[in-house]
């Protein structure tokens, strides 16, 4: 015990909130100064949207232990709800429309979370697939959702809060960053609260949780609601800030799996894990395409790229599940401990 305590002492000397705060300051001040539009458009915006979706899914799957394959459906619900709110309610502020669309996603999450009251594990995962297929079907079938647009693809409205327009790549980046920072902070508060501990209790042993008086059914549905709210808002960022279009095809089953992979690779039941996992998922295809183009030249076309992405990603997930089931977060913590130990002994 004492050995462990001394190992951690340099890290413990710094307040816990310092590192995240420095990171946020860096993201707000330094990155807008040094970044180019490629960095914002191709890397940071999808990274922020997927990170937030990962945070949302992690609350449901990592903390509360309910596996879901319907994340993209909740993203779609959020995106389309925000589109329709801003289209049909004149003068609705953007913030209100985001909150309302989160609530719509939460309501859909509760409905598709109902099977969790009877189903567990794989069976629950399969039943959340229903959400995925149903939402995508409904959005394609009823053209009212996309305002009867012929192609089904619609332009997202401009982002503006109180007359201030978030124009251009940097503006949209700052907008997305703010939403992600606020929701991540609230998510962090949630998972360290009694409700968050109830989530973990239900995940680890739901019979014991029921016996000691944790309202299991209510807590499960709450996990679905909160998780879907966050994922719904992530969908708004994805559509409004990143793609600037809203279309059902972008929220298919592949997207659901992608978010699930993010939290598995990043680390289940960890807020940081969602960000680490998302950065890997976003950056990795870009690195692969650069590397492939450099090594193989013209042979490495988009077909080969797509295939090799899937193969390498699949292999990576298998490796993680075997070697580091706790994900990048555990890896990160271990490296940091080694470094601080080395720093101490030198």
């Amino acid at each position: 015990m004492s050995a462990i305590a001394t190992q951690l002492s340099p890290a413990a000397a710094l307040p816990k909130w310092l590192a995240p705060l420095l990171l946020i300051a860096f993201a707000y001040v330094v990155i807008p100064l040094i970044g180019n539009s490629y960095l914002f458009e191709a890397i940071l915006l999808p990274f922020l949207a997927l990170s937030l979706a990962g945070v949302g899914l992690n609350i449901l799957t990592g903390y509360a232990g309910q596996v879901s394959l319907g994340s993209a459906a909740f993203m779609a619900a959020g995106a389309f709800a925000a589109y329709n709110f801003s289209l049909r309610i004149e003068g609705l502020p953007l913030v209100a429309s985001i909150i309302l669309s989160g609530l719509v996603a939460a309501a859909i999450g509760i409905v598709f979370g109902l099977p969790s009251l009877r189903l567990k594990g794989f069976y629950l995962a399969v039943s959340t697939l229903a959400a995925q297929f149903f939402v995508q079907w409904a959005l394609t079938k009823f053209s009212w959702f996309s305002n009867d647009s012929a192609s089904g693809v619609i332009d997202a409205p401009k982002l503006s809060i109180a007359g201030f327009e978030f124009d251009g790549a940097v503006g949209r980046y700052l907008f997305a960053l703010t939403v992600v920072v606020v929701l991540t902070f609230l998510a962090h508060r949630l998972v360290t609260s009694q409700t968050g501990r109830n989530f973990i209790a239900i995940r680890d042993n739901d019979t014991a949780a029921r016996i000691i008086g944790i309202p299991v059914l209510k807590t499960k549905l709450l996990a679905f609601a909160i998780s879907s709210f966050i994922i719904g808002v992530a969908g708004v960022i994805w559509a409004f800030a990143y793609l600037r279009t809203v279309e059902p095809a972008g929220f298919d089953l592949d997207r659901s799996f992608q978010i699930l992979f993010i939290i598995i690779i990043g680390g289940l039941a960890s807020i940081r894990g969602a960000f680490l996992g998302a950065s890997l998922i976003v950056v990795f295809p870009l690195v692969l395409s650069r590397l492939g183009g450099f090594l193989l030249g013209d042979l490495f076309d988009s077909g080969v790229l797509d295939m090799s992405q899937r193969i390498v990603l699949g292999a990576l997930i298998i490796l993680f599940l075997i070697l580091e089931p706790d994900g990048l977060v555990a890896l990160w913590d271990r490296v940091r401990r080694r470094l601080s130990l080395a720093w101490q002994s030198s």
Binding site: M1, L186, R189, L190, S193, Q194, T195, R197, N198, I200, A201, R203, D204, N205, T207, A208, A209, R210, I211, I212, G213, I214, P215, V216, L222, I226, A269
Partner: protein, 307 residues
């Protein structure tokens, strides 16, 4: 704490003796109990828990057949029996995990066909499990605090924003959990993840989680299973100390006849789902049917050993 100072003749005197309440909790903590009955235990005291004609079968296999059991306030009541005798089924019926096919459970006089598991904690019943049922991903302190989750009044929004009663509630619950951890000598491991503790300490942490709610009735499903002799007597001392300090009634299932003889006030013996004996340790020890069915090999073994 000596283990076997319970002279068998002096059981009635030891149960709910005045000093139990003197050692009990300070008045502020007792508030939560409401109007807990404080009648002195006597032979004819109303039972805290009574099982009446309980029958339970799984498919064609009879787990329990016509079992009656009464538990008086403040006693330590053991249920013993060979493997597969139906002991765990009985605890599961009492805690509402199983619904009995026949008969009913009487808890503080109220009659239940199936005890409502969701309200168990509110009814003042806590239990531990035969196979560890700690929340592995939570610290020991958080595990114990979760034993008070049923009392939480604040909602998740208040907890996120830290407004309203949240802070005070959390501090109060942590304070109680810390007291129980200290009582069971677990303070050194309070911040460790429950899953990383050695087996014996996990068992004790589970006892702490059950005790933090200060239950009127504590159900212990093999609290000493898989422990060394030293750990067993330590655990027995904790069980008795918990009974004395929290003035709780204990129903416990155990394999180790030796530990049970020294610890309990009355013992019921199950065999093939039927109750074959019920009485003081002395009576049970001398019961011919018990000796035949269960103690046969150990009848000459006064020290008590695993059977």
């Amino acid at each position: 704490m000596p283990i076997s100072n319970h002279a068998f003749g002096a059981i009635e005197a030891s149960v709910y003796a005045p000093e139990v309440f003197a050692q009990g909790l300070p008045a502020a903590q007792r508030q939560a109990h409401g109007d807990r009955p404080r009648q002195p235990a006597a032979e004819d005291a109303a039972p805290l828990l009574a099982l009446e004609g309980i029958g339970l079968s799984f498919g064609g296999v009879v787990a329990l057949a016509d079992v009656d059991l009464s538990v008086r306030p403040g006693e330590i009541r053991a249920i013993i029996g060979p493997n597969g005798a139906g002991k765990s089924s009985l605890i599961n019926v009492i805690s509402g995990v199983y619904r009995a096919d026949r008969g009913h459970v009487r808890l503080y006089g109220a009659r239940y066909a199936q005890v409502p598991t969701q309200r168990l904690a509110r009814l003042g019943v806590a239990r531990t499990f035969q196979n560890l049922a700690l929340f592995k991903g939570l610290s020991v302190l958080d595990n114990v605090t979760s034993g008070l989750a049923y009392r939480t009044r604040s909602n998740f929004a208040g907890q996120i924003l830290g407004i309203g009663r949240t802070r005070r509630e959390q501090q109060e619950q942590r304070g109680r959990a810390d007291q129980v951890l200290e009582f069971l000598h677990l303070t050194d491991v309070r911040d460790r993840l429950a899953g990383t503790l050695p087996y014996g300490l996990q068992k004790r942490a589970e006892l702490a989680r059950a005790l933090v709610a200060e239950p009127r009735l504590l159900l212990l499903d093999e609290p000493m299973a898989g422990m060394t002799a030293g750990e067993k007597s330590e655990m027995a001392a904790y069980v008795r100390a918990a009974r004395d300090r929290f003035a709780t009634t204990v129903v416990l299932i155990e394999h180790d006849v030796g530990v049970v003889m020294g610890l309990s006030d009355r013992i019921a013996v199950l065999d093939y789902g039927r109750k074959i004996a019920d009485g003081t340790p002395e009576e049970v020890r001398n019961d011919q049917r018990v000796i035949d069915a269960y103690l046969g090999v150990a009848s000459g073994n006064e020290e008590g050993a695993d059977i």
